[in-house]
Symmetry: C2
Subunit: 159 residues, 2 copies
Amino acid sequence: MDRKDKVMEFIAMFEGLRRYRRWFRDHSIPVRKNEMMLLMYLVHNLPSDSVGMQPSELGERLRLTRPTITTMVNGLEGKGYVVRLNDEEDRRVVYVRPTESGMELVREAQANFATNIGDLIDYLGEGDSQELLRIMKRVRQFMDSRKTNEARGTDECGD
Amino acid sequence: MDRKDKVMEFIAMFEGLRRYRRWFRDHSIPVRKNEMMLLMYLVHNLPSDSVGMQPSELGERLRLTRPTITTMVNGLEGKGYVVRLNDEEDRRVVYVRPTESGMELVREAQANFATNIGDLIDYLGEGDSQELLRIMKRVRQFMDSRKTNEARGTDECGD
DNA sequence: GTAAAATAGTTTGCAAGACTAACTATTTTG
DNA sequence: CAAAATAGTTAGTCTTGCAAACTATTTTAC
């Protein structure tokens, strides 16, 4: 395959993927989709011994800027799905922590997500879905290294 | 791996990817990114014997609604990168066609895209990049079949 | 052969998502 | 201790994309 064609195929692939969230547009959930994603990330990736995750760390993990995280956390906090906790050592620091009701919301939403994404996993089969995850982790690694290189000298992720 | 974990991994994968476009945020290009994507699609997928592509078809291919396509075409037309042509047989129909300057813009932008995505392809290597495209085509197939099932009885793509 | 339905595209108005720049409050460093 | 750095927030804005309602044309059904 021609190099240029391959680049175009990659672009088409990424474009097609960007709108995957519509699969599980669920009007019944009481938070926005990006808030739901943040909450799910938090529930699944918060170490059990940890009091919460900092907005700045959430931003890095999800590739979003801090102001964006602030807005999302505001929404979730207003509805009682997360709480903000202050660090008494370093009073600049805030920890975000899901509440019981936040964890419950994630459990409910997961049935919905699992149906759609589960179907995809079934469709792909064990081999290809495993393989996809493996390769996509490498893509993510590439993205992260690229971001680090470009972030020199700027306040934040810089783009 | 637990089924629920796998679903979460897929979600994290998709989320991380959604913002891939920032790689080639190029402030020098004189159109919006979504307009650029439309233009690239048009230039690369318009059969050489065809006078242009209909907005409705563009919408299907790119998974966007017709009003969205209208807006994007307006932007591109205003800057002279595409033209609208009327079908004399069926006067409801419009064809969108890139101009010379539109094709030139795509050629220029491609150097930029090729650098970034080309680096990714190099990073992944021949095997994994080929494999990724193959699996992602299957993901897209799944998405398309899913969309068709849900679109029954609605005006348009329905979500 | 015309009235109703369907189709193609557009206009309008809006909501979600995410950004930058500028700000406050704290902590670290020279 | 003053200056720089860090964490988070606020304010304002831009992009993307949608749904609903509209116009114009063509097809269908009686």
